[in-house]
């Protein structure tokens, strides 16, 4: 029995972050990845007769997003990761264990909210406005190397913050378990 359209949409909306992130891995443009996600939703509805279960929808969507992202990268003459590496990354995104990510996603958003203004501005210019490091450096009157180094530090700091958040949450959850 084929899936209903609203089921397909709900699955894809729930997995939007995975599909978008896989596309962004290749496009290196979050807004283009969003566009690809929308295209994948439409295409999934067009092809809904083939889907038998929600897992099939996700696997199909990841592959469809990857193909569109590779096309995008080609059109922009970007150097893409080789297929064997993309296969491994796609497999990670398709892994159900990676979907226990709601806690991690929430922690990430809390940590983003704690960034300093300058760090927020840097990430905003970089990923929301889609500026290259050269353009960011011009805007902020820094060297390109300084921008790259700071971006790297911000990313590492965010990961450390998320790990701390999850660790504290696990500890407090543990404490709440009655003896």
């Amino acid at each position: 029995m084929t899936l209903e359209p609203d089921t397909i949409v709900q699955v894809l909306l729930r997995e939007r972050l995975r599909v978008t992130a896989l596309a962004a891995t290749v496009t290196r443009d979050v807004h283009a990845a969003d566009d690809i996600f929308q295209q994948v939703v439409m295409a999934a509805l067009e092809s809904r007769a083939q889907f038998r279960d929600p897992d099939h929808v996700l696997a199909w969507a990841l592959r469809a997003a990857r193909h569109r992202a590779v096309d995008f990268a080609r059109s922009r003459r970007l150097r893409s990761l080789p297929d064997d590496v993309l296969d491994l990354l796609e497999a990670r995104w398709a892994d159900p264990a990676e979907g226990a990510a709601s806690d991690r996603g929430e922690a990430l958003h809390r940590c983003l909210g704690r960034l300093t203004n300058s760090a927020r501005e840097l990430l905003h210019l970089r990923y929301a406005e889609g500026l290259t490091a050269v353009a960011v450096a011009e805007r902020l009157r820094r060297t390109v190397d300084a921008v790259y180094q700071t971006l790297s530090r911000v990313h590492r700091a965010l990961r450390a913050c998320v790990e701390r958040e999850l660790s504290e949450r696990e500890t407090s959850t543990t404490r709440e378990v009655p003896s």
Binding site: Q38, L81, H124
Partner: protein, 455 residues
């Protein structure tokens, strides 16, 4: 000493994102991802951070605690206020239809597949909305009353942009979006199914209609455009011509009388003159070399100025016209608007050369209107040479301006996006004084090897 693996991967990632890895670094990244499970996990985390960061606004939430500080430099940096994002995108579109991402995408997606149950109401309001408003943008209802730019745009309304850098994007419920560039205007007809391009350049991403809906028809003075499938195109309504450039998909073009003029496919550009003349070209990459040829007739749509003569040689000379931006009469040469093809592609080191003469010295300008390499983006800016046209005598009658594009950014409308810049319109201006300007040569070229190094 080599940095720890996670530090090194982060360093590679931030360069990977710019496609700025050297071949050696690219192979290093590929090797790490291919062989190291932990590297793949970290890479995945980095991408997730980038995607989440794309939703960041620049304002910190008031409730945020101050945890670890990651300054840009060793000194505390004052936060820089940012204006609106420079890129329009569907990430922001989805918020306009209310109810957040899930409801918006679901409504748009489901609208196409809901059964045609007469008891069910139409899934979405047919009104369009305006977004990514920058600069001088007005919305007027059919009765002429001004409407807010952040509300619905009802059928019958006219949306207009004015001046350098002004732009807006019109969003329809089915996902169709139409970006208006500077000095453009569109009018929605009363059914909401037809959009008239009154003037200027728009970039339209036309999506298939919702179930039960009619496809959007886009019209200019010379053309009517329809297409059932999605199409991405740029349209320029000039004074005496329409230019249709299709980036993706295809569109059927007819005259207003209904006479078919043909199909325009991805990568093609069709110009339809008010005299019915048709010209079809392939859309090519904008070259980084340009030379204006005064021996050829001016293009259809050339705005101001004419071909004159200096002795027997043809030259460009200005005309006296009302400049709406300056709000007064001026002596200007103003080219046609080559939005889709562009005249030339500029980097900071591109060399601009103008050979001219004037009867008397006086202040003047050489200006370029530029866009980004993405033809669909309405972002624009100005490059300006503001100085004095110098009257020479005798053998020095003809003077030369030679300047690098990077030196033409000292103006308030300089592009806020990095180069390359695509020049789509050029202007020579002597303001309200007739200096007797004659332009014999206008060239743009990439930085040359030896020779002159202009200031």
């Amino acid at each position: 000493m080599n940095p720890p693996p996670d530090v090194r991967l982060a360093e590679l990632f931030v360069r990977y994102w710019d496609d700025a890895l050297t071949p050696v670094e690219a192979r290093e990244l590929e090797q790490r991802l291919a062989t190291d499970h932990a590297a793949r996990a970290w890479f995945q985390t980095l991408v997730l951070q980038a995607v989440a960061a794309a939703d960041l606004s620049t304002a910190r939430p008031e409730s945020a605690r101050c945890a670890e500080a990651v300054p840009l430099s060793s000194e505390p940096a004052a936060p820089e206020l940012l204006g609106r994002p420079h890129r329009w995108n569907r990430r922001r579109v989805l918020g306009f239809f209310g109810g957040g991402l899930a409801a918006s995408v679901a409504a748009v997606a489901l609208g196409r597949w809901m059964s045609s149950d007469p008891a069910r109401p139409a899934p979405l309001d047919r009104h369009a909305r305006l977004g990514s408003v920058r600069g001088d943008v007005t919305v007027r209802a059919a009765d002429g009353n001004a409407l807010p730019t952040d509300g619905p745009v009802p059928p019958g309304s006219t949306v207009a942009t004015a001046g350098p850098g002004a732009s807006a994007v019109l969003f329809y419920p089915n996902g169709t979006n139409v970006a208006l560039t500077e000095d453009s205007a569109v009018t929605l007809d009363l059914t909401g199914d037809r959009l008239q391009i009154d003037r200027g350049v728009v970039a339209a991403d036309v999506r298939p209609p919702l179930v039960g809906g009619a496809p959007l028809v886009v019209a200019t003075t010379e053309t009517v455009l329809t297409g059932d499938a999605g199409v991405v195109m740029t349209l320029y309504q000039a004074a005496r011509a329409t230019e249709v450039g299709v980036q993706r998909g295809s569109v059927n073009v007819s005259a207003p009388t209904g006479r078919p003029l043909g199909e325009v496919r991805g990568g093609e550009l069709l110009t339809v003159g008010s005299d019915g003349n048709l010209e079809r070209h392939a859309i090519r990459d904008t070259p980084d070399v340009y030379a204006f040829d005064p021996t050829r007739p001016l293009a259809a749509g050339w705005a101001v100025g004419r071909i004159g003569a200096a002795g027997k040689a043809p030259v460009l000379v200005p005309e006296f016209w009302f400049d709406p931006y300056h709000g007064r009469q001026m002596y200007q040469i103003r080219s046609d608007k080559q939005w889709t093809r562009g005249f030339f592609r500029l980097t900071r080191d591109s060399v601009v050369r103008v050979r001219y003469r004037v009867d008397r010295s006086g202040p003047g300008q050489v200006c370029f209107c530029v866009r980004t390499p993405d033809v669909r983006s309405p972002d624009t800016g100005m490059l300006e040479w503001n100085d004095t046209y110098v009257a020479g005598t005798g053998a020095d009658e003809w003077q030369t301006i030679e300047v690098r594009a990077g030196k033409m950014l000292a103006n308030k409308h300089a592009p806020k996006f990095s180069n390359p810049w695509i020049g789509f319109l050029f202007i020579f201006n002597t303001y309200d004084t007739n200096l007797g300007l004659q332009v014999a040569e206008f060239r743009v070229s990439p930085p040359g090897p030896a020779g002159r190094s202009p200031g």
